[in-house]
């Protein structure tokens, strides 16, 4: 048998452009550019290994990944390509269109430290909350966000939220000389990420047509920054821009339905599942979801009436963002279940504690959760939807600490 000839650069150019250069370019979030064919060839063995392990491209949701055939073409090209070939350009993919209608920024002065370390806030490290200015001059209907920073490689994600300014101002007073404060970005019952999470892969984020995030007049936008020290001190300047829905255009506001677990604990070595269920009292569309979960969660998924509509089998908080779910409509009475696979054993490669420790998490707005960004189908129900978030939040305050249902151990015999 004769092997087919190895793919040429022409065969892989668009694949590399779409799947690598989006991040690996000058000023991009990735550590080096992959904009020339030789950039791949001189890292050939390393890149082949990462592609084979599905580490790069790093998308968590299967539908965003390239197909096995595409992957195979790139791998065969890498294996065959000689390092002495002339360098050819891998073009950057087209930048999505964006209209800057509003612009917000943080005060300068915070420096992302060169390495992580023990700080006063135990628990979530490498997290900081910032206030953006100015406040909304009118009710803003946001169609798209775009985030720029001076530290694209250190910024892991930002979770956006709005507030009348009282809560974040209190936080800011804790560290009067430096912008931001070292705490998570929940604003009372409004969690960080309520207005979307922008991560490494989506620093420009367009909300599907017909929907928008809403920022009330006079509210400020705040964000919870998750950062990753890179070995060098990085002064942080950051700007958030908003594209607004044109005044005359019809669009529905997205409200939050938090399928979250307020507090949970798990023993060292244990694994199992945690679940949150909710039955919709009205008809809704759910075009977007966000996830709040840490490194002891191995997988998250969402089912509606028993059908899986969203699935991240290998959860990694490093790549979090807000994801689109195409065409998810729930009619009144449908049940949605959020499932979290907890793994506090040594087998979990991302477990921050080795050997594992007993742990417990709690957070007013939920320590773990999938958030549905939902809009009512009947305009009459929009008000109800706004109430749902609040009432779920209030009900949650009396929920007990949950423990995962064991899946790894045989159930105890009951007397």
């Amino acid at each position: 048998m004769i092997d087919p000839p190895p793919p040429t650069f022409e065969d892989v150019r668009d694949l590399l452009s779409q799947n690598c250069v989006a991040c690996h370019q000058q000023e991009g979030p990735a550590p080096f550019s992959l904009t020339k064919s030789t950039d791949y060839q001189r890292r050939s063995a390393f890149i082949q290994a990462l592609i084979q392990e599905d580490r790069m491209p790093p998308h968590l949701v299967a539908s965003e990944r390239w197909s096995d055939q595409e992957k195979d073409v790139v791998l065969r090209w890498l294996a065959a390509a000689s390092r002495d070939e002339d360098s050819q350009t891998v073009p950057a993919p087209k930048v999505p269109s964006f209209r800057k209608d509003r612009s917000f920024r943080i005060p300068e002065g915070f420096v992302i430290p060169k390495e992580g370390g023990e700080r006063w806030h135990r628990g979530d490290r490498d997290v900081r909350t910032f206030r953006l200015a100015p406040r909304a001059d009118q009710l803003l209907r946001v169609q798209a966000w775009r985030f720029h920073s001076s530290a694209p490689r250190e910024v892991e994600s930002i979770g956006l939220v709005h507030d009348d300014g009282t809560i974040a101002r209190y936080g800011d007073l804790q560290e009067p000389n430096t912008p931001g404060y070292e705490m998570t970005g929940d604003m009372g019952w409004r969690p960080a990420g309520m207005l979307g999470v922008l991560g490494v892969a989506n620093s420009t984020f367009r909300i599907p047509d017909g929907f928008h995030f809403e920022v009330p007049q006079d509210h400020e936008i705040d964000f919870e920054l998750r950062f990753r020290p890179s070995g060098i001190d990085k002064p942080l300047a950051a700007t958030l821009e908003a594209e607004l829905v044109p005044d005359q255009q019809k669009s529905r506001a997205l409200h939050l339905i938090p399928l979250s677990i307020r507090s949970w604990r798990v023993k060292a070595g244990e694994s199992g599942t945690l679940e949150q269920r909710w039955v919709s009292p009205i008809d809704i569309d759910v075009p977007l979801v966000s996830v709040r979960a840490g490194r002891r969660i191995r997988g998250v998924s969402l089912s509606v009436d028993g059908k899986r509509v969203f699935d991240i089998p290998d959860w990694d908080p490093h790549w979090q963002q807000t994801w689109e779910i195409p065409d998810l409509r729930m009619t009144k009475g449908m049940q949605v279940v959020a499932t979290f696979n907890v793994d506090n054993s040594e087998e979990n490669p991302r477990n921050p504690e080795t050997p594992p420790r007993d742990i417990q998490f709690g957070r007013r707005t939920g320590a773990l959760g999938i958030w549905l960004h939902a809009a009512a189908i009947d305009p009459v129900d929009q008000g109800t939807l706004q109430q749902i978030h609040r009432s779920i939040f209030e009900a949650q305050q009396s929920e007990p600490v949950e423990t995962p249902r064991q899946i790894e151990q045989s159930p105890k015999a009951s007397p």
Binding site: F46, K114, R350, P352
Partner: protein, 181 residues
């Protein structure tokens, strides 16, 4: 002689290390072959190596205080002295910067990734490796960064040799960016 080729020392990064004698003089007078040295393989754009730079800087300083020299070896082809010394300087690394485009050090020590750490005696021709492995456990795998390192294997190895222990130990394997052969 091996010692002649050993002098791949391009630049001294700290003021105090300028007082260190060139390697061939040490060979002649101080019995260089039995002298302990450290080596770390690096790449200016490997995020894993860079993330560990602050601890490497501290280790280089610590080794230097005990009169142990650290070689900062950059194996990638096409790098210039200027590029690597800028890199070492901006990341606060302490040691002698070495370009290794022909992989003489890579082959001699059998290095596989950046960053990978060594404690050894002897020269490039016949190194006696006392430690080979990771710097610490900040990364538990490529793409799997912990918030903080908890186990400092390279530091322990340096301490052992300062204490006079010449036992050869291989640490947990280094995690990092593959050195292309």
């Amino acid at each position: 002689m091996a010692s002649k080729r050993l002098v791949l020392v391009w630049l001294c990064l700290t003021a105090s290390c300028q007082s260190l004698k060139p390697a061939h003089q040490m060979q002649a007078r101080d019995g260089f072959d039995s002298k302990i040295r450290c080596a770390v393989f690096l790449s200016p754009d490997c995020p894993i190596a860079n993330a560990m730079a602050p601890s490497l800087g501290r280790l280089g300083q610590y080794a230097q205080q005990h009169d142990i020299e650290t070689l900062l070896i950059y194996p990638r082809k096409g790098l210039t002295t200027r590029q690597v010394s800028n890199h070492a300087q901006s990341y606060g690394l302490v040691g002698h910067v070495v370009l290794d485009p022909d992989h003489r050090w890579v082959n001699s020590l059998d290095a596989t990734v950046t960053p990978e750490a060594f404690v050894f005696s002897g020269g490039i021709e016949n190194p006696n490796v006392l430690y080979q492995g990771r710097i610490n456990d900040l990364y538990r795998g490529v793409g799997n960064r912990q918030e903080q390192a908890r186990n400092h294997d390279f530091r322990n190895a340096i301490e052992r040799s300062i204490a006079g222990n010449r036992e050869s130990v291989s640490g947990p394997p280094a995690v990092g960016c593959t050195i292309e052969r």
